[in-house]
Amino acid sequence: MSVSDIKGGGVRLYSRFVSLVAILLASALGISLIVGISVGIGDMPIPLSSTYAAMTNRMGWTSVELNRIHETIIWDYRLSRALVAVFCGAGLALSGAILQSLLRNPLAEPYVLGISAGASTGTVAVIVLGLGAGSISLSAGAFIGAFAAFSFVALLSNGARGGADQTILAGVAASQLFNAATSYIVTTSGNAQQARDVMFWLLGSFGAVRWPEFALVSVVVGIGLIICLFYARVLDAFAFGDEAAASLGVNVGRARLLLFGITAVMTATIVSMVGTIGFVGLVVPHAARFVVGPLHVRLLPACAIVGAIFMVAADIASRVLIPQQVLPIGVVTALVGVPFFAIILYRFRRAT
């Protein structure tokens, strides 16, 4: 290798670094912009400039005179809601990408391990049966249920030693079991109003989230993203299956358990706050793969960014599609998700 080649490599590295920074800046700008738009939309429209001023005021950088009601709405309701949507979208897309790779199944998504079914059982137990007699919140019930389902799947699929197919089957079994438990509780003990509450929660809603939720979900998804990025190359090594990964020196059992665990914690946290928002975790990784390719060091950040933007956009759509009414967010993501799903299936048919 000659000196000029190495020099060329250095220049190439530098230009790649610059383009990386540019892409990250553009993504941050895109996310801020859509968050700003989301904050502005509602029964009381707020201009983007007010949102910007409200934020810089709070940082202590500026002291622009603002409508007090606007400032309260921005800070107490809409900004936290939009930022929670950012991290929920990022976390679900990230979990979906990891599960699709680990299970080597293009149809895997964050709920494939039974987490949403478990969470719904936990929620219903709290709403309908009054489990914990008010001492545990809805979110805590959902989180406990989600982890019960995940443990059940882990146990059924023989810890981390079972293969991908075994894990998927165990997830299907767990989902069936916990969904049946949910339906059983609702039909035997619930009244009509409770059934409606459960239904709305199951389809997902950002209505109830405030700053404490933001603090929790940002920490969980942030840490999850960082750990997953460290494991990007390990995830690449899983491309040809568990045995191939093992023969490349990957500790397959440990990697699977850790990565399943991270996706379970992220998904359970998200589900316990905003309910079961479907299709983001399935659709976004495929969309990101079309753009940046299958290597995880690019795919994972891309999923986080696209997932964040998609979720905030879906939240906006859920509020503006029907005037004076908020659609469940899961309905909006599925309305976009299903056509996309059809395209994936169509491409799949052509490829085989």
């Binding site: 190359r233 090594a237 040809f240 045995e243 023969s247 490349l248 020196g249 500790n251 490829a351």
Partner: protein, 253 residues
């Protein structure tokens, strides 16, 4: 001595898959593993690659028991090519070959000149350089197998383990692959079905039947009319080829 197996036994439940196998692969030589379907060839290769733990007995690498060698250290010197390993990820050839550098890189290290050199030379040796940016799904069977070989070579192994690598390849690619592997200056253990190819290219042969070794030695010693009848249940005549002086098998109807 390179890879050595001592009295290996491997059981699944009460079923004995590998039953008291001992042999030693000579450094730099190509060791062929023959035997009917279900005779335990693939299982033996998995044990050798450290993917499964033997029920009893041991495998040593330069005298060291592989049970005590770290997975990553194993992967730095032994490369394994599975049967039918495929992916639905849209990886490029170059991405797959780069996977071979995985055991040589730590979680934080960047791509080094040594990594680049190993990948470039692996692509060249397998004649995949021109196809380096093609997607896995667009490759033919022969190209996929050559890509696997390139990935294995990028691991810079001292031992190469191949499980029926010529399956589903046309005759041109079969011969090419066998010639390439036999020309490598590393120890290789290769499971094969084509007895004539095994006789032509391998330095040593082992024949397995129901988990046991029933014959071993040079192709001339191993490939005999009696063995073909007893192990493979075929009626055949063996003669020394006038072209390469190795045994050649004529199957009689």
């Amino acid at each position: 001595m390179s890879i050595k197996a001592e009295n290996l036994v491997w059981k699944i439940g009460s079923k004995t898959i590998i039953d008291g196998v001992s042999f030693a692969a000579e450094p730099g030589k190509m060791l062929g593993l023959l035997g009917p379907n279900g005779s335990g060839k693939t299982s033996l290769l998995r044990l050798l690659a450290g993917l499964k733990k033997p029920t009893s007995g041991q495998i040593t690498l330069d005298g060291k028991n592989i049970a005590h060698i770290k997975r990553r250290s194993m992967a730095q010197r032994i490369a394994f090519i599975e049967q039918h390993a495929t992916t639905n990820a849209g990886l490029k050839v170059i991405d797959v070959v780069k996977l071979g550098r995985f055991p040589h890189r730590s979680m934080f290290s960047g791509w080094t000149v040594a990594d680049d050199l190993a990948v470039t030379s692996a692509l060249e040796r397998t004649e995949m350089t021109a196809k380096r940016n093609d997607r896995w799904q667009s490759l033919s069977g022969g190209e996929k197998q050559r890509t696997h070989l390139a990935r294995a070579l990028a691991q810079s192994p001292q031992e190469l383990i191949l499980d029926e690598p010529t399956n589903h390849l046309d005759i041109h690619h079969q011969i090419n692959l066998m010639r390439l592997v036999s020309s490598l200056p590393i120890t290789s253990v290769i499971a094969l079905h084509d007895l004539n190819h095994a006789a032509m290219f391998c330095d040593q042969l082992i024949v397995m039947q129901s988990g046991k070794i029933v014959a071993s030695g040079s192709p001339e010693d191993v490939i005999t009319q009696a063995l073909l009848h007893d192990v493979f249940s075929v009626d055949a005549r063996v003669e020394s080829s006038p072209y390469h002086s190795k045994p050649h098998i004529h199957f009689v109807r």
